[in-house]
C-alpha cells in the first residue's frame, strides 16, 4: 500500500466492511487515477487558456464564450471536463465523508446531499453546453 493514499478502507480501525463483496471501491480507485490523468490535460489547459493566455480573464465575456462553443472541439473538451471533474470531485468528497462522518445517519444524509447537488450541476452544465444560443438577447 502506498504512503500517500489509501486505496481501500482496510487500514482504518473500526472501518465498516460490507457483508457482500463488491468491486465498487476498486473501480472507484481506478477511476480516480484514470480521470485524474485526463483532467491534468483538460483542466490545466483550460486554466492556461482562460487565465493566462492572451490577456487572461480580462478578455472573457459572452462573445468570447460564443466564439469558443462555435467549435465542436471546445464543446467536447468542456463536456468531458465537466463530467470527469464532477465525478472525480464527487467521488473524492464521498471518500472524505466516509472518513470523517462517524454517525451512519450523518454519512447517509451528507452523501445524499452530495449526490443530488452533483447530479444537478452535471445536468445543468450539460444542458448549457448543448443548448447554448449565440444569438440570445
Amino acid at each position: 500500500m502506498s504512503v500517500s493514499d489509501r486505496p481501500l478502507d482496510l487500514a482504518l480501525p473500526g472501518a465498516r466492511r460490507s457483508k457482500q463483496r463488491s468491486n465498487f471501491e476498486l473501480y472507484s480507485w481506478i477511476f480516480m487515477r484514470v480521470s485524474g490523468i485526463v483532467l491534468v490535460f483538460l483542466v490545466l489547459g483550460h486554466l492556461f487558456i482562460m487565465n493566462i493566455l492572451d490577456g487572461g480573464v480580462q478578455r472573457i465575456n459572452f462573445a468570447f464564450v460564443a466564439g469558443r462553443w462555435a467549435s465542436p472541439f471546445w464543446q467536447i473538451w468542456d463536456l468531458a471536463m465537466l463530467w470527469l471533474a464532477m465525478l472525480h470531485g464527487t467521488n473524492g468528497l464521498r471518500t472524505i465523508i466516509n472518513d470523517y462522518a462517524e454517525r451512519d445517519q450523518t454519512r447517509f444524509w451528507l452523501k445524499m446531499l452530495l449526490y443530488v447537488s452533483s447530479a444537478f450541476i452535471i445536468l445543468l452544465g450539460t444542458l448549457v453546453i448543448f443548448t447554448f444560443d449565440p444569438n440570445l438577447g
Partner: protein, 131 residues
C-alpha cells in the same frame, strides 16, 4: 473504537502533509467547480447577466483568488501524478520523497510566471503604468 483516538494515526512527515494538502485542495477546487458551472449557466439567461458575473472575476480580489485556485489545481494535479507513480511504478514508493520535492519545484517554476501573467492587468490598474 474510541471517538477520540490517543495520539495520531500517522507519524507525520511529508507523506502525511502532502496527503492532507491533496484533500484540502481537492475540496476547495470542487466547491469552486459548483459555483463555476452555475455562473457559466448564465450564458443561457442573457449576455448581460453573464458579462455582469464575469466582471467580478476581473476585480483585484477575485483575481487574487484565481491565482490561489490555479495554485490549488496545479498542486492537486502534480501531487496526483506523484500518487499514481507511487501506486503503479515499481520504484515509486522509494522515490516518493524526491518526487514530492519535484512537485514543489515544478509548482514554483510554473506559479512564478503564471502569477505574473494572471495579475498583470490588476497590478497595472491598481498601481498605474504607462499605457
Amino acid at each position: 473504537m474510541a471517538a477520540t483516538p490517543v495520539g495520531t494515526l500517522y507519524a507525520g512527515g511529508q507523506g502525511m502533509w502532502s496527503w492532507v494538502a491533496q484533500r484540502i485542495t481537492g475540496i476547495a477546487v470542487f466547491f469552486f467547480l459548483y459555483v463555476h458551472v452555475l455562473d457559466t449557466a448564465l450564458v443561457r439567461v442573457s449576455p448581460e447577466a453573464y458579462d455582469l458575473v464575469i466582471a467580478t472575476y476581473k476585480t483585484p480580489i477575485v483575481n487574487l483568488l484565481e491565482v490561489g485556485l490555479v495554485g490549488a489545481v496545479l498542486y492537486h494535479a502534480l501531487n496526483g501524478l506523484r500518487v499514481i507513480a507511487v501506486d503503479f511504478w515499481a520504484k515509486g514508493p522509494r522515490y516518493q520523497k524526491q518526487m514530492l520535492w519535484t512537485v514543489v519545484g515544478v509548482w514554483v517554476i510554473v506559479m512564478v510566471p503564471g502569477t505574473y501573467y494572471m495579475m498583470k492587468h490588476t497590478v497595472e490598474a491598481l498601481f498605474g503604468s504607462t499605457p
